[in-house]
């Protein structure tokens, strides 16, 4: 059976023609928008989050993303690890450990602690006078071996008389050493 060839001009006209619009549609759209405003952006955002959608992920960036999340979480959780504050290696999981420094000096007007944890900077960690002549400060320290000294009144460097001595008086003064638990 032979068919007539299609009238292409008519086909194009029909495809280009706008579909019929429901006269009530504009009103429905306005009602919908008002409904969204009434629900608020929180509800709308929640709906957006719950809406199913197709996501395409390439394996390499996805694995890299997961690795980044793990690294960031590890760094953040370092500050939340258990701490003992006592000297001695390998006794707790790694993390920053609150470590108390204390000096008794009745004559001092200002006491600071300097060490490898603050770049030996006398302005970094000043001790507080907790009672007359008693100076104290808690400093979060990484696990490991730390060398330190006290600086009294900005000029007199003294070791901690109760701590282990740190060999190394190349600069003409003595230091102390402490080991913070949890180190490698």
């Amino acid at each position: 059976m032979k068919r007539d060839p299609p009238n292409w001009n008519q086909v194009v006209r029909e495809l280009k023609a706008m579909p019929p619009v429901d006269p009530a549609a504009p009103e429905r759209i306005v009602q919908e928008i008002r409904g969204i405003e009434r629900r608020g952006w929180g509800a709308t955002a929640w709906e957006w989050l719950l809406r199913k959608r197709r996501v395409m992920i390439a394996p390499l960036p996805a694995m890299a993303g997961a690795a980044a999340v793990i690294v960031v979480l590890t760094v953040l959780l370092r500050g939340a690890g258990p701490s003992t504050g006592e000297a001695g290696p390998d006794t707790s999981s790694f993390g920053m450990h609150p470590t108390q420094f204390m000096v008794v000096d009745q004559e001092a007007a200002h006491v600071a602690v300097v060490g490898d944890f603050n770049g030996w900077d006398p302005t970094a960690h000043s001790l507080e006078q907790v009672s007359p002549g008693v100076w104290s400060l808690v400093v979060p320290l990484e696990p490991g071996r730390h060398t330190y000294a006290y600086v009294v009144d900005g000029e007199r460097w003294i070791p901690d008389s109760l701590a282990a001595r740190a060999p190394g008086d190349e600069f003409g003064g003595r230091n102390s050493v402490l080991l913070v638990a949890g180190g490698p």
Binding site: D116, R165, G168, E170
Partner: protein, 205 residues
């Protein structure tokens, strides 16, 4: 995909950034001294030696107002001792162990003593025993006596509190006038008895 590219870059760069957290010499040393220190640090890094202790030694010198030549001398000396400590204690040693070993060497402890201590506890950290060893030698205990005592305690597997108790009691005895070697032997024997590692001497029948 730009977000994924950023995350990928973060994942690749963050570990190296974390590893690169070293103290800065900027503003603490004059440019020439800082450059000389960094040259020593770069050389140490190439040899796989920890660099943070070297930078901290330079910063300590700066904080104490030491002469630049003195600072360079101290940093070079520490680099050499860290290298010796690593050679003796082993390439798997941790930074605290190496720094403690370098400190013991500075105090006059011979490298053979470090090796002896490492052999006594092959699977455990020797950072604390080395700190106590250096402390005792610094207080006048002869190196052979201090080594014997620390190796005995390490072999006995005493806990960390025992090392600290030994350090404190020996220091106290020496301040009170005891002979350093006698103080070390006596206190160590007491700790070993307490730990049940030395048989009680029975009086003759």
């Amino acid at each position: 995909m730009n977000g994924f590219k950023a995350v990928t870059a973060l994942a690749l760069l963050l570990p190296s950034w974390l590893a690169a957290q070293e103290p800065s010499l900027e503003g603490r040393l004059d440019p020439a001294t800082a450059a000389a220190v960094l040259a020593i640090v770069d050389s140490a890094r190439a040899d796989g030696i920890p660099t943070r202790p070297l930078l901290n030694k330079a910063l300590e010198g700066a904080g104490r107002g030491a002469h630049p030549e003195r600072i360079l001398w101290a940093v070079r000396g520490l680099a050499g001792r860290l290298e010796t400590a690593r050679a003796v204690l082993g390439y798997q040693s941790t930074e605290p162990e190496l720094v403690a070993g370098a400190g013991a060497l500075y105090a006059g402890v011979p490298p053979a003593s470090l090796a002896e201590l490492r052999e006594a506890v092959p699977g455990a950290s020797v950072a604390l025993p080395l700190v106590v060893l250096a402390d005792m030698v610094d207080r006048g205990v002869p190196t052979d006596a201090a080594t014997t005592v620390l190796v005995s305690l390490a072999r006995a597997g005493v806990d960390h509190a025992a090392y600290d108790a030994l350090r404190l009691s020996v220091a106290q005895d020496i301040r009170a006038g005891a002979a350093p070697a006698a103080a070390a032997y006596t206190r160590a024997r007491g700790l070993l008895l307490e730990a049940g590692r030395v048989p009680q001497q029975r009086p003759p029948p």
